[in-house]
Amino acid sequence: METKSVIIAGVGGQGIILASNLLSEVAMEAGYDVKKSEIHGMSQRGGDVTSTVRFGEKVYSPIVGLGGAEVILAFEELEAMRNLPFLKKGGTIIVNEYRIDPLPVASGTMEYPENITEYLKQKVKTIPVDAKKLAEKAGNMRTMNVALLGVLSKSLNISEDIWLKIIERRVPKKAIEANKIAFRLGKEVVENAEF
């Protein structure tokens, strides 16, 4: 298999690091070589967070540059747009239709771009997801990230058993069931999507 590169992008506090940890472990469990990279530090709270996961037979670089990712999984609309230049030609963006105002918008000095999903759709294959709704349905608002992984999982050709096994291993015990439900709901969003 060619190396797959997935960028998970969003805002500090959205569970991005956990999501990329889950994806990495799933890929390792499936027998792939895996690398993952993210930036800690200044992005403690409110800053943007990006994590890259790459897996395949043999992976060298843990990151990709502009035009390097097959899939971008964006937890927030503005971050989907910001990361678009990292997408490969023919790549896919999964965008959570969720908006978190950055400080320049909150303080009224800049405008949040309108209709980001439409903008993305005109340029690349875009899968919009309302992860908040899925998490509500799953009965736990903290499962948004796993619901989004469910959407992503449709493209990766790794069995659901492995996903559920890793979810069981890594999420807090009392949230396992809700996360499993969220994962399946996410999967249903793109029954026939191909990447």
Binding site: G41, R45, G46, P62, G65, G67, G68, R82, A106, T109
Partner: protein, 604 residues
């Protein structure tokens, strides 16, 4: 067994497997997790240091007594530790001594982009550079053994992308090694000039021996491939280069100082031209060019000197191919901000209103420099705020002006004050300075992710440690005007700072409040503030706090995000028309919670 580990976790694991006994560090991104992870191994004594210089001195002492020791620091931390670093090279090591240094190309969390490979060359200390987590583990172990074999401290240099990238690591068991015990060795460890002259000769001989060792070391090797391009790349750049040139001939070097000259010549004889792919300075390039290999070498003429590399940049530079396809319009950036309920916010808000000239320091509170607080003029390095302010005071008074009119304030955090703020404060006191110093005491080292420090009362291992009382420390220097105030007391802060900046004597204000992200505060459920749109006059005062929970509606009224607000009430105090109130005044809020955790008395 195998697991996915970050480079930092792998270094910790390698130190443990290699029989490490003692480790210490001052936190600093991207190196912090090395010691945090070592802290989980019960066989290793590990502790947070007050600064990097101290950490290296203690580890060196442990090495004197035959303990396998490790220190870890970020790039600029090695500047702080440079003095013992150079001496340690002359003295050598009895117990294996590893100095891990994590550089930060791209400056994700640092004030400069210095390339610390020069330190290895400069201090004549051998250096490993891993290219992934497995090698980070193996090289840490290897460094412990070689440090003892060659009688030298050994540097392991990573970068952010090595420290913070995860890859698969195979585990081994720990190999126990005995601590040899302290035996005095005057000629080796007392660097009187007469001894040091002898030591220097030994250091030069040692470098030749290690160079010879490097010729056949497993980590230095030629990876055969297409001979038309030969690539030399270090650390993470090796991985980027492999991605872009999967079939080229590679010279992989894990021991990057001293360099194996024979192996390099052998490699040069196999290929038509050499690409040197390295982040930062042309370290390998300068040395390879100086070897007169008689072959074309392409390096920094194509590869950028600044910022991080990645596969796309390498491809563009050396293959002329640009895989990027999408441009986007200018969109709002997402700067990090002080958290809702952060105790620093009110202090910077007050300094802004007083129109003070503020010299700053390194920590979360450096964010007070950003709009809308915009109340920090300078950020230089750890501990600089106090000396910088004193220098401005000196120059202004030399112009014949009253420096008090400049409203000079130095702002420094508690951990940074312990790290390197005490000595400049002594200088200021001794040399008749009058500058006001504010110590932002949030009871933790917050920026790097909440490491304990001498003020927090706990050690790395989570057990109680002795606590340094900042007020007593400052009074001990001789400063008479020392005041502790609640960081949320905006009225009191304004009066106090205004009074002290006009005083003809030095004063220290300790603005105290625990960090709102402390574990014991973070897990509580708080009420939130609500703004009454009817009463709000759009005066903008609360917007100027820069609190992430406060935003502006389309009608230009204040709106407070209940998901983010922790009910600290600072905006309530700022509002001149009482338009903001707590949703449930009787419920728990960050202000009340902070006071409970602190258990402190105001002391004016």
């Amino acid at each position: 067994m195998k697991a996915i580990l970050s480079g930092n976790e792998a270094i910790a694991r390698g130190f443990w497997e290699g029989g490490g006994h003692f480790a210490t560090a001052y936190p600093g991104t991207p190196s912090t997790e090395i010691l945090e992870n070592i802290g989980n191994y019960p066989e290793i004594r590990s502790q947070w240091a007050v600064n990097e210089k101290t950490s290296l001195e203690i580890a060196l002492g442990a090495s004197f007594a035959g303990a396998r020791s490790l220190v870890a620091m970020k790039l600029v931390g090695l500047n702080v530790a440079a003095d013992p670093f150079f001496s340690a090279s002359y003295i050598g090591s009895t117990g294996g001594l590893v100095v891990v240094c994590a550089d930060d190309p791209g400056m994700h969390s640092s004030q400069n982009e210095q390339d610390n490979r020069w330190y290895a060359l400069h201090a004549k200390m051998p250096m490993f550079e891993p290219t992934d987590s497995q090698e980070a583990k193996e090289l840490t172990k290897e460094a412990l053994v070689l440090s003892e074999k060659f009688d030298t401290p050994w540097m392991v240099r990573t970068t952010t992308r090595i420290s913070h990238s995860l890859s698969i690591v195979e585990f081994d068991e720990r190999k126990e090694v005995e601590i040899k015990g302290y035996v005095p060795d005057f000629h080796k460890r007392n660097l009187l000039p007469s001894n040091a002259r002898v030591r220097h000769k030994l250091v030069e001989e040692r470098t030749i021996k290690i160079k010879e060792f490097g010729e056949n070391f497993w980590g230095n090797r030629i990876e055969e491939g297409d001979p038309s391009i030969g690539i030399v790349a270090n650390g993470i750049s090796y991985q980027y280069a492999r991605e872009v040139f999967p079939n080229a001939t590679f010279l992989k070097l894990l021991l990057t100082w001293p360099l194996p000259e024979k192996l390099i010549r052998k490699f040069a004889g196999k290929v038509k031209k050499i690409y040197i792919i390295e982040e930062g300075d042309p370290f390998l390039e300068m040395h390879l060019k100086a070897m007169n290999l008689g072959i074309k070498i392409i390096g920094k003429d194509k590869i950028p000197m600044t910022g991080e590399l990645n596969p796309t940049i390498v491809m563009k530079a050396l293959k002329g191919k640009d895989p990027s396809h999408f441009d986007i319009p200018k969109i709002p950036h997402r700067p990090p901000a002080l958290c809702p309920g952060c105790p620093h916010t009110g202090v910077f808000y007050t300094l802004k209103r007083l129109k003070a000239n503020v010299t700053g320091d390194i920590g979360c509170y450096t964010l007070g420099a950003l709009p809308p607080l915009s109340s920090m003029d300078t950020t230089v390095e750890m501990g600089a705020s106090i000396g910088n302010a004193f220098g401005i005071e000196i120059a202004e008074s030399m112009r014949g002006l009253d420096p008090r009119k400049k409203k000079l304030v130095a702002v420094i955090g508690d951990s940074t004050f312990f790290h390197s703020g005490v000595t400049p404060l002594m200088d200021l006191f001794y040399n008749n300075g009058i500058t006001t110093v504010i110590i932002l005491d949030n009871r933790i080292t917050a920026m790097t992710g909440h490491q304990d420090n001498p003020g927090s009362g706990k050690t790395l291992k989570g057990v109680p440690g002795r606590t340094i009382d900042i007020e007593r420390l400052v009074r001990g220097i001789g400063i008479e005007h020392v005041y502790t105030i609640d960081s949320f007391d905006l009225k009191g802060l304004k009066e106090l700072i205004n009074r002290e900046i006009h005083r003809q004597e030095p004063s220290v204000i300790i603005a105290r409040r625990p960090c709102v992200l402390l574990p014991e505060l973070r897990k509580r459920k708080y009420t939130y503030a609500v703004a009454d749109e009817e009463k709000c006059t759009s005066c903008t005062l609360c917007w100027k706090l820069g609190c992430p929970a406060i935003s502006v509606t389309k009608e230009k009224k204040t709106w407070i995000n209940p998901d983010l607000c922790v009910g600290c009430g600072v905006c309530i105090d700022v509002c001149p028309v009482d338009a903001i109130s707590l949703r449930d005044p009787n419920a728990d809020n960050a202000r009340k919670a902070g006071e409970e955790v602190l258990g402190w008395k105001q002391n004016q």
